[in-house]
Point group: C2
Chain length 211, copies 2
DNA sequence: AAATGCTTCCATCAAATAATGGAAAAACAT
DNA sequence: ATGTTTTTCCATTATTTGATGGAAGCATTT
């Protein structure tokens, strides 16, 4: 039997799925407390009570958004991993950065919500530590020794540094371009250059030395 | 004549300053919409009306917090720049990362609020683009050609990558340690190592090649 | 001591918000 | 067609939130 969330994802025309999709966007823009159920309902074009009918209380809808975002991001990471598997490190990182950046610029709410969770506390206790992909990425980047059973903390922080660097530029897509005097099109291009420039050398250098 | 904000900063025992200090912390934790004037007032131990008497409406207090945070951060950057001035690039970055990390772990609300502004929209239109220090940092890192009058966008993005990497680890101080299985003390230490490892090689390498 | 001005709190308001009950409407099954 | 279930909306409630008026308290000056 499918969970309600799975059912909603299956038929993207269903009211439940439409509400969830809009919730993604609005919550990604305004955060949990900045989002009202009215904003979401209005955007979908329905009454608030219809929203509550499908998703229960606000917290439940928010948790569904978190789970959904995590699922999307996790799937994308798996897809990218398949493409880069076996290639040399520098190439792997170029392709992964390129693919993830493109993907996230298309769904910026993913980056927004991920960062949001790291930074901000919620007055209601909506925590829900959900699945994290840091370990998988570390493995994909070759940061985990095959002998050791678990990923060392240092390697996980390195992965976080990489992922968050990307998320930050996506989430700053409204704030940064005027600040650095770039048009929107130029921004995405320059972000990719910058990410490659800043992130890759460290890992390539260590591989050259250590291994 | 001193502005109200300056006056409040001058006497940290004044009610206005005490409110502002608490507002720093709470807004840093919960963001604009997640913070209520009641939360701040209760933490200070006063009535809400006293808060409104000193700071007017919520938006005004929030803007004061933003300005104050920016001032603190800007001053710290100036201090650090004085220390590292003239040293070779690699050393400059080691010292700057170390000093900024220590400082921001002491006042995490600065990192929180900086990132918050980049990511999240506010329902009320409280924008206020305040002074940015990206240009100064770019100059301090030697990313600006002396000949060119303004900082190139690419250099500004590089600075943002560096600053945001730091901010992210500070803001994640509650979320990341359990996730990467590190005690609090170990976390700060490993964060510094990771920041040095990820951020420095790229810039050092280019200096070695290009210059 | 009286008067003045500044600060604080109590009581309260108006608006916004999350949430629900119940009637109408729509979809579906028989 | 008729009955049943599901879905949607309208009206309403309780709570929270930002904000204010006015009285009481406190300090300072005269």
């Amino acid at each position: 039997m499918a969970t309600p969330l799975e059912k909603a994802r299956k038929d993207p025309e269903s009211m439940k799925a439409r509400i969830l999709a809009v919730a993604h966007r609005i919550v990604g823009e305004y955060g949990f407390h900045g989002t009202t159920t009215r904003m979401i309902a209005q955007e979908v074009g329905i009454d608030i009570s219809t929203l509550h009918y499908h998703w229960g209380e606000k917290k439940d809808l928010y948790e569904a958004v978190i789970i959904d975002i995590n699922k999307d991001l996790g799937q994308k990471l798996i897809d990218v991993e398949k493409i880069i598997h076996g290639l040399p490190l520098a190439e792997r990182m170029v392709i992964a950065i390129d693919a993830m950046t493109d993907y996230l610029f298309d769904c910026p709410e993913i980056s927004n919500i991920m960062l949001f969770r790291y930074i901000v506390k919620t007055r209601d206790n909506v925590d829900l530590l959900g699945p994290e992909f840091t370990t998988d990425i570390a493995r994909s980047m070759g940061l985990t020794r095959n002998s050791s059973p678990s990923t060392p903390p240092r390697a996980m922080l390195e992965v976080l540094a990489v992922m968050n660097a990307i998320h930050n530029f996506i989430s700053g897509e409204n704030f940064f371009p005027p600040m650095v005097r770039l048009e929107r099109g130029e921004y995405t291009k320059t972000v990719k250059e910058t990410l490659r420039f800043v992130l890759i050398p460290a890992f390539v250098k260590r591989e050259g030395e250590g291994l």
